[in-house]
Subunit: 429 residues, 2 copies
């Protein structure tokens, strides 16, 4: 059955579609309830961190250089700053530790640009137009933030080694209204791409037309390898920017959301000392400090970066079979059919599938009708608009391996069915 759909004649296609439709009816009858929509850890991953809930108790010493139970310490406890500094290979002066959500840090940073501006520049709400570059496919929650603030989003193709840097340089170095770019530089969401050293160097040597242009470097998956022997490691942008006298150009975000508990983790911002001062100037009005006990809970559990890395190997042991199951099914079911390509990530949370143009919506709808929820079509593009209606984000983390097998089989069936109909329609025209 490994004949390219495109080489089939109309009768072959009709017969194929009839077979696939029967299969679809059978699967639908099973009334599956599967979800591959969000990059959400499953309970077996969460169980890995349960012992962290024992490290702080009523006997714990919570008074260090100050009482960690009380108000204060706006930029995070020293121990947590040290841990994140080690993980991101920056200095503790460049780290600010927050509450449970790096998304919230990003939102607040955009909001600060909008209401007050960065380092004395004009607030964006006073500008006629503000633009952000959005490598695509990308992360829907990033796009939601910029859309929320009325920022015009410009899609930039994400290539094999990072965003199209010719286009990025053209925009950033010439257009004053371009104030930022969203990046997931390692195991990108959804395509799993890690930016090459050359790309990171080109980012670090940008000469932005706008003084308040910032790279929003969401290093969400910096620790999230699937394999011990094959790993990507994106270059240290904070360091490279400093070397290029461009220290203020970047905000780097990360968190323990997919390390310990998504709802009860700790998030951090790495940035230049001047940017940090600017951030703290706003934070001092906004809060009297984040949850220091939870910061300490994380540090005492992991001890250091090595502890985090060991823990992430356990996470990988849970996730790897899920990714491998999806890739196995896709390969078995779709190889040679010329109806889709997919990513083979070494880490992160997603497999990115590119269907024939004009098929993504229909595939996702067909999956949904048969009980498997995928991320909405278009979600990986600004304004939910994938101009080719092609990209589908598959999130294999939440279902069990068995469920994933069923979900991937259903998905492959829907890809075949929708693609065959599409090809037939084109042939008939």
């Amino acid at each position: 059955m490994n004949k390219s759909f495109k080489q089939m004649n109309e009768n072959e296609l009709k017969s194929l579609i009839s077979d696939l439709e029967k299969e679809y009816v059978d699967i639908k009858a099973k009334k599956l309830e599967l979800n591959m929509a969000r990059g959400k850890p499953n309970f077996d991953q969460l169980d890995l961190s349960m012992d962290m809930l024992n490290v702080i108790n009523s006997q714990s010493q919570l008074v260090k250089n100050m009482d960690y139970r009380n108000y204060g310490i706006l930029d995070g406890i020293d121990e947590a700053k040290e841990l994140f500094a080690e993980l991101l290979d920056v200095t503790t002066d460049e780290i600010t530790v927050f509450g449970n959500s790096s998304l919230n840090i990003m939102f607040d940073q955009i909001s600060r640009g909008y209401t007050h501006g960065y380092l004395g520049e004009k607030p964006w709400c006073q500008e006629d137009e503000v633009k952000f570059l959005c490598p695509v496919p990308g992360y829907d929650r990033h796009f939601a933030i910029t859309e929320h603030f009325g920022i015009k989003m410009i899609p930039v193709p994400l290539l094999e080694d990072g965003p199209d840097m010719d286009m990025v340089e053209e925009y950033v170095n010439n257009d004053k209204s371009v104030k930022g770019i969203w990046c997931v530089p390692q195991y990108s969401n959804p395509s799993g791409v890690t930016y090459s050293l050359d790309v990171v160097k080109r980012f670090a040597s940008l000469k932005p037309a706008a003084k308040d242009f910032r790279i929003f470097w969401d290093n969400a998956y910096c620790l999230h390898h699937l394999y011990n022997d094959k790993q990507d490691h994106v270059a240290n942008i904070i360091q490279l920017c400093k070397e290029n006298d461009n220290a203020d150009i970047v905000f780097e975000f990360c968190s323990t959301s997919k390390v310990t508990f998504p709802g009860s983790g700790v998030a951090a911002l790495a940035c230049s000392i001047d940017n940090k001062k600017d951030v703290l100037k706003h934070m001092t009005v906004q809060s009297i400090g984040h949850d220091k006990i939870n910061q300490l809970r994380h540090v005492e559990y992991f001890k250091n970066a090595e502890g985090v890395k060991k823990h992430m190997e356990k996470q990988a042991d849970v996730l790897r079979p899920k990714f491998e199951m999806v890739e196995k099914i896709l390969s078995e079911q779709l190889s040679g059919l010329d109806i889709g390509t997919w990513s083979h990530p070494l880490g992160g949370y997603f497999i990115s599938f590119n269907a024939l143009n004009g098929c993504a919506k229909d595939i996702i709808e067909a999956c949904k009708q048969a009980g498997a929820v995928l991320t909405n079509a278009g979600a990986t593009y600004p304004y939910g608009n994938d101009p080719e209606d092609s990209n589908i984000r598959i999130a294999p983390s939440y279902p069990s391996v068995d469920e994933l097998k069923q979900a991937a089989l259903l998905f492959a069936l829907c890809v075949k069915l929708v693609s065959a109909k599409k090809i037939l329609k084109e042939k008939s025209c």
Copy 2:
């Protein structure tokens, strides 16, 4: 020595000042290090909640109607909504539970008004002028937020039973640029005033010129009584607003910051269902939910409102002797001298002292020189500007009773010294 300073002649005053200066030099030599600046619980209050750190551990059942460790539940877990609903006497639909900081909720609410506007009204950043009413003396961190967003602050006198409501009605019902008022309705910061039923009713029946006018009802001290037999209980503004077809007019804030741990508590917003929907519309872009494990930790520790109230009696047992010590010293040292008045609060975190006009700054500076830090002069007024230079906020919670005795004696001495010099100067002119 209980002769009114104002009735002394110049020679009496000179001799008095000479004696007081000797006393001051002696105290200064002790090199005290005391702090009555912030409403910050002491470690003995924090110790009261240490057992809360045992209620969640690796054996805890954290999967309820969903997995509380994971992403999700933007408005807080049901159990926490129920607890806050009981404490504030509202429905769970009217409650949103956040992270550790009610200040952060207030900041974000102001920020949302500024960037997007409430319930479809124009964002404040597009208005020529936005004004907030600020009952004075009031809370410096409230004023810092409105100042941060360039909102013009109008001081309104805080009387014995609440803000001057004639003035509030005059402004709110006629001036479209008045978008809000800051209120600490029970045991107000710093004067300890609780708004009367009549005042709350007048708030609930406001007919604002601006559709997006909101009462920022910071019920920070709703649980913070000093006595079991003498307590204030401010009326339920959410209920009264509903009865007046004014449900959308108020945001009520509270937290467990001064119940459990200031850095690791849980904060909540109570508001109309329409307001809540509006808030969630923004939050869904900002975050994937707050720390649900910490919310559960609080609920499992307290069980219900009765549990919280019992706990607050223990807090009161620690705080009461501190307030009584300060009041005792002030009474012994200053009664009858005609150089200051002070509040006698039944709860909250502050004693408000009104010195002779033009003396507050000098008293605070004299205390500082001798080792006792007080809140900055003027801090209880918008823009740090107390036009009479009279109000001083005393925060007795942080020092021990012994330290407070020394601090209050030093404070009383500085009040006498500065006042005597001031009166002498006036007599000499």
